[in-house]
Symmetry: D2
Subunit: 334 residues, 4 copies
């Protein structure tokens, strides 16, 4: 950690700061330049509150030289991590197609969609049983019943499934779930992350609406530091001023995360755009940018089909997209 | 709810949509204009998925005419709500000064600060026992011990206190807490909100980093719809491109929220700016904008005092600021 | 245009508004519903100040049913526009590779880079002669001399070139320039846009840092309404809270713009990311998303080469990327 | 300037960088630590392209220790600057009330409003003659005629006036204008800034929609470095995800700018919010935050008055607000 002092700081004030830092067990390299004084902190700086130090009156700025994330840091794990989920591999050259409806609605619905996406090439089924809803008056999902329906769909198709968990209290219900998803709104629900770190199941961790890549990695770190290394990161759009799409897909997050971490990185173009007709372009873009997989909403509801719309693709649209994604993968990975 | 159809939509497609909406139990007012066709939906439109409808291919746009929030909507409660907390009133002309350290660290610390802020005019003590930390390696707070120290400080000073709850699982520990705070990262932890809605205690609900005012109100609605009407909203800065301050204090949220809801609105200038030296200006601005209170970090740590810094004010700085806030209140409210 | 009135508006106030709108020459369809009153405005609503109306006390909201852009609106021009520049076609299935150094520095530099990018498959040369610099103390470009060097490079390679114009006053110097670029900071320099609308040259219009797609289209409209239809739009990253990259590449802007307008849409991954090592992934992503071309910075400076870095690619990196882009194009367009 | 190298950089690569920096005339302090290597650059670092260096593969990060702005830097000018405009002082304890209509529409309108705002206590008149409009089809202002009308209003009331200039080409028309305004969209129109730097008139420089405080100061630097030191900065709202108001008033910019620069800082609550009913709260907030003045839109149009709305205040609303601002000033400045 490097602390740059302001110009004109008195020696007395400077030494008070140095003494305080030394009391924290750090060694200090003092470098007094013509125009600047810099303190180099050596030792375990993870305990130093960077915000506190940078807000001190005599401090101009503070820089952490070593990143605060360790378990998920590529520096210490140069090889890509391959996360396995019931035989499906993700990362390190393995590309995962995950698809299914936004919400599980009925046995017929989930089984039909599961069969359709499997036929199109999907290896994992998605479907919401516990739904985070902005309004307390909106449909919160079928909950436990939804999980049972997902298991039926799994039995019918052989596809393992991923579904969102919203609360530590619901954990017992998720024992027979193949992969647990942490939604964007819960990315910093640290208690939940900690508990997921104690499981022996892969975790799909979605980036929060306004979270930096560093914060996403710190949340992965919560899970990994508690013992569960099987974390898959998911870019799903961030909140910006741009108002045509629901969110803004941060496509450069894919190569940037690949540089920072060895964890697999997938993309959710359905939530990122909120518009079915933009999903194919963004799914192809994510594939070209090097994503390790795609999680896409597919429905089978006649009204949707009738009206040609919504965030979800129709099965035939997904089939067409999946074929193109495969073609693209060959060029990108080849 | 108003649905504007795109130009050139066929009657067949239009009627399919109308039939579907009627199946949901709605009456439809069809208005065919020269350049546009508009459907007016009458009935209980709360069950209509606005995102779905607006994404239909034949739909140009959808507008909800009645807001989806009811319990916290000023339209139905024209009078300001006054929230009481152990004799302290907030809202409807009652201004609350809430102050205390970021984290509870020791009995001496919390009692000293509590006495200092009380002397300066604060009516409520704040202090973190359970701390949400971005990193799993950072200090998570004294937890249960911290709550006990807050109670001691309350006994010593008579100040009721507010402290953050992060998880439903911790609720039993909060039985003797006067006001519970929901932090920015948990603003959409809907399970937590629902449980807080069953308490008979005031809730301080902080706006999330990237949440709109409507989303904040919907989260208040979660608490209120479950029976607990004593909600205080808190603007604490939003995440923007601006990089000088930690967050950007959205000052216009104060008058805007006052227009939308009858709930009290307070401001946290400490987290909004992240810099102690900007806190006084922003606290005065919030007061002038009509806030119903201020929650400000005050510490009593000699190192902080020594170094003149951090997000927290020193007690003497808080005393000076509190006096100015009182003066300003007289002009603003007068 | 649709005007939704607030609940409980008196007839007197409502009629005042109707009279005022009628005085503007509009016909009003009044629709009084159980819960809402809606005015449908028919006629030339382009003169109605939407912000003004929506801010009236009795108005709940206003919606423009017809977009305010006409010349660049795909509704009126369903066929893709193909923009030609000295024999190079862009749009409508024609993909343009534009490349060259950030700034023109010397004859040797620009000619060397021009030859290298041509060999790699680029059809257009880019190079800055007039450079917008945040600081008045930074190098502002070689200006007129730079334009002369670009012409030499054109003569040596046969590549037409695009370069940025910053001021109407400089127009006479640009007579022999093949394509003029409007930089992000000048996207709403309306006087400049108007003058460019009088030229018979293609214009490369970059999206501003914080501009919506609608604003970008309105700026294209400025050029087109003045007679010059040859406008190419360029997504080059927007400013968000995200801090790893210089800007955030808004990849969904590509398909969205293709839906809204018939103009070609290209992407600048160099400025969008600010980091050479992210450029290839983002260039491939843009290609997969359906962009009509890429504008990429390539340099040939030994120091850059030595140090392996900067926003610009080295010629050999560009050659490799260009080959991959071509492969991808075949899959995407095929 | 401080350059932090990545871990594990070879000595050869490091020395290449050092040689290159030395060739730029800089002295290098090399500090090799256990975990990090830091280069301290001494000399005229203003010529070093920070983005270039920070993007080099071997570089972890770069920090500029001395700010790149000099003329407007408070470090070199500890005393507040007082800008004078025809006898009206702004800054250094002098508070300026600037008010008037958005656009100049007619002699009667501008004279009536000018008299009204003067009676309310305004010292400067504002009014747009050249209007930046997003759409080429919108009213662009009365231009030269508008300037003439402003002069008539000045003659009638004695109020000097400020009005926006959009283009260098219009400069001759502004000879008898008292203060020139640079609008948000032109904040980085560097050619315009440079020309304004050659005038002997005060310049009101508005912050761009998505510009940082540093960029605002660099634009002020453009004007000042060319000889004109009379610059007034204006915060007028930034573009964020927040969608209730047109922009988000960045209130903390006021104290932050006061710390960074000695230039006066005023606030425009009309554009920041876009809603007349939010203007008073935000104007009072700005005053409390220490702004050196307020620029507020006031109209006198019967339709506006009739309908109670728009971004502009009615004269009687302004009068009431102005009185409250004066009261607040006494508390804040007292």
């Amino acid at each position: 950690m490097i602390v740059v002092l302001k110009q004109g700081v008195t020696e007395a004030k400077r030494d008070q700061l140095i003494n305080w830092l030394q009391d924290l067990g750090l060694r200090i390299h003092l470098s007094v330049g013509e125009y600047q004084t810099v303190l180099g902190l050596v030792g375990d700086t993870s305990q130093v509150d960077m915000d506190l130090v940078s807000s001190l009156e005599i401090v101009d700025s503070v820089k952490r030289v070593s990143e605060p994330f360790k378990c998920c840091n590529r520096k210490f794990h140069p090889e890509d991590m391959v996360v396995e989920c019931e035989g499906v591999k993700i990362g390190g050259g393995h590309f995962a197609m995950i698809a299914g409806p936004c919400s599980v609605e009925s046995e017929e619905q989930i089984v039909t969609v599961a069969k359709a996406v499997k036929a199109a090439g999907a290896q994992l089924l998605r479907g919401g049983a516990f739904k985070p809803r902005t309004s307390p008056y909106d449909f919160p999902g079928l909950k436990a019943t939804g999980l049972e329906l997902l298991k039926i769909a799994r039995q019918e198709t052989g596809l393992p499934f991923v579904t969102e968990i919203m609360s530590v209290a619901d954990l017992p219900l998720f024992e027979d779930v193949d992969m647990l998803q942490v939604g964007a709104r819960n990315m910093q629900n640290f208690d939940l992350l900690r508990e997921l770190g104690k499981l022996d199941k892969p975790i799909l961790l979605k980036r929060g609406l306004a979270n930096t890549l560093k914060e996403l990695l710190m949340s992965a770190e919560y899970i990994m530091a508690n013992g569960n290394e099987r974390v898959i990161l998911c870019e799903r759009g961030i909140r910006t001023f741009s108002d045509y799409t629901r969110n803004t897909l941060d496509i450069s997050a894919v190569p940037m995360l690949h540089e920072l971490t060895h964890l697999p990185v997938i993309v959710d173009p359905s939530h990122a755009t909120g518009m079915a007709r933009l999903v194919p372009s963004c799914a192809l873009a994510a594939t070209a940018a090097g994503a390790d997989g795609l999680i896409i909403e597919v429905h089978n509801d006649p009204i949707h089909a009738l009206c040609d719309g919504a965030q979800s693709l129709r099965p035939e649209e997904y089939t067409e997209l999946a074929a193109k994604v495969m073609q693209l993968r060959e060029v990108v990975a080849g």
